[in-house]
């Protein structure tokens, strides 16, 4: 479905991704792991065609994402419909006056009845039916996140990219989101997180970025989560001393939130 071939991306402060190659097939549930600032968000934006690599290429269903390709309106419309990105900060995505308009923003090419049907359907799926006339900025953090998800899912994308979707959620909302994603079977998902306690619930395959912005692991998630040395190298585990009575010993954590 999506291929990254030797992708490097530099921004003005330095390297964000260094020679990353990977292939994600339809139906996969991928978890993108890495410490803060290792390039997870950049990778997702590259997959969404919002950034273009300085080296290498990103291919979606065999077509390279280039300036020229993204300027092709018909192709670009279909690409945007098929690939949705949920941003880490819900405020980045919300700008319409009501929840209903927010969900229906991307659907104006559809007939009114179909658009209303889809808005009601996704509002119900995400527990927003009672809030359709509410301005999005009045919603709580969890409700905003659900609204963003509805706004992306209303297009019924084939590939759903999520940037730290649980970062701003309380425990109850986090639990709800994990349950919801488990039921989302028809969609290929790539979820970035540095929360290892949740990672196992979010996918089967792990991609791990190191702090020098390289892909250091691509394989089964369970194996990645049990490899202490790998997690340590990616700065996803921490060690500290623990005092038990008179004894002090080194204790390793990989639970991280």
């Amino acid at each position: 479905m999506i291929v990254l071939d030797g992708v490097s991306f530099h921004h003005e402060y330095g390297v964000a991704l260094d020679n990353v190659s990977l292939h994600i097939a339809a139906g996969e549930r991928v978890v993108l792991l890495g410490a803060n600032g290792c390039g997870k968000s950049t990778l997702l934006k590259l997959m969404n065609g919002l950034l273009l690599p300085q080296q290498g290429q990103v291919l979606f269903q065999g077509t390279a994402l280039t300036h020229g390709q993204l300027r092709d309106r018909r192709w670009s419309r279909e690409f945007r419909r098929q690939v949705g990105l949920l941003f880490q900060d819900p405020d980045a995505m919300l700008f319409n006056p009501t929840v209903a308009e927010e969900i229906g923003y991307s659907l104006r090419q559809l007939p009114v009845e179909e658009r209303d049907r889809r808005i009601r359907h996704w509002a119900a799926e995400l527990g927003l039916s009672d809030l359709l006339d509410t301005p999005p900025f009045r919603l709580s953090g969890g409700e905003k996140q659900r609204l963003c998800l509805a706004a992306v899912l209303v297009l019924e994308p084939a590939l759903l990219l999520m940037d730290e979707p649980t970062a701003n959620l309380d425990p109850r909302a986090t639990g709800w989101l994990v349950d919801f994603l488990l039921d989302l079977e028809q969609v290929t998902t790539v979820v970035s997180t540095h929360n290892l306690s949740l990672a196992a619930e979010l996918g089967d395959r792990a991609l791990m970025l190191s702090e020098d912005h390289r892909l250091i692991y691509d394989g089964p998630l369970a194996a990645a989560l049990s490899d202490q040395e790998l997690l340590w190298r990616a700065n996803l585990a921490h060690r500290h001393r623990r005092r038990r009575g008179e004894a002090v010993r080194i204790h390793t954590h990989q639970e991280w939130s």
Partner: protein, 185 residues
């Protein structure tokens, strides 16, 4: 030359440009600045044009409409206004590209601290704005209408102000907790 020298030169240039009223001189100075900027010039000019385009169009349009209505001449004033704003913006962008502002403003610990705080705020806002623009592009399956642009820009403005206020509040609390204001009466 030190960053402080360039900052002083910039401030002098801003004052000098404010006293110039002849469009020809403003144009000559703009051309000289662009020539002096060398290979940075095209990028500086483009960014400056983008930065002033909307406001200058609105102000110039309003002035032209009012002058036509009152039967007054407008061309010279509009040319002077646009040239001056463009020149000042090019100068500012050139200074920002050329010097380390933190070092230039570091005349004492307090000013250095304030410069760092201000630049951090600017960088945070820039990252947020970029994120919001990306999100808008990502969600726009169809080309956005003028109404969508307006709504997005308005919402961005409100959110950015909220975030800037929250950031400034926590920053001032941090400064207070570290004793920055303790010597105040």
């Amino acid at each position: 030359m030190s960053p402080r020298f360039w900052l002083a030169a910039y401030l002098l240039a801003v004052v000098a440009v404010s006293f110039l009223h002849e469009p020809l001189w403003l144009a000559i100075i703009l051309l000289a600045v662009l020539l002096a900027a060398g290979r940075l010039a095209p990028r500086l000019l483009w960014r400056a044009l983008l930065a002033v385009l909307l406001v200058n169009l609105m102000v110039s349009g309003g002035y032209v409409a009012l002058s036509l209505w009152q039967g007054n001449p407008w061309a010279l004033t509009v040319i002077r206004l646009n040239l001056r704003v463009l020149l000042l913006t090019v100068l500012t962008l050139w200074l920002a590209a050329r010097i380390d502002l933190v070092r230039a403003l570091s005349v004492g610990p307090a000013s250095r601290f304030l410069a760092v705080v201000a630049i951090n705020q600017i960088l945070l806002m820039r990252r947020l704005v970029q994120d919001y623009r990306h999100a808008f592009r990502s969600r726009s399956v169809q080309p956005p209408r003028l109404r969508d642009h307006y709504r997005s820009a308005a919402r961005q403005g409100v959110v950015l102000m909220d975030k800037a206020q929250a950031q400034a509040e926590s920053l001032s609390q941090g400064m207070r907790s570290r004793g920055v204001f303790d010597d105040r009466p």
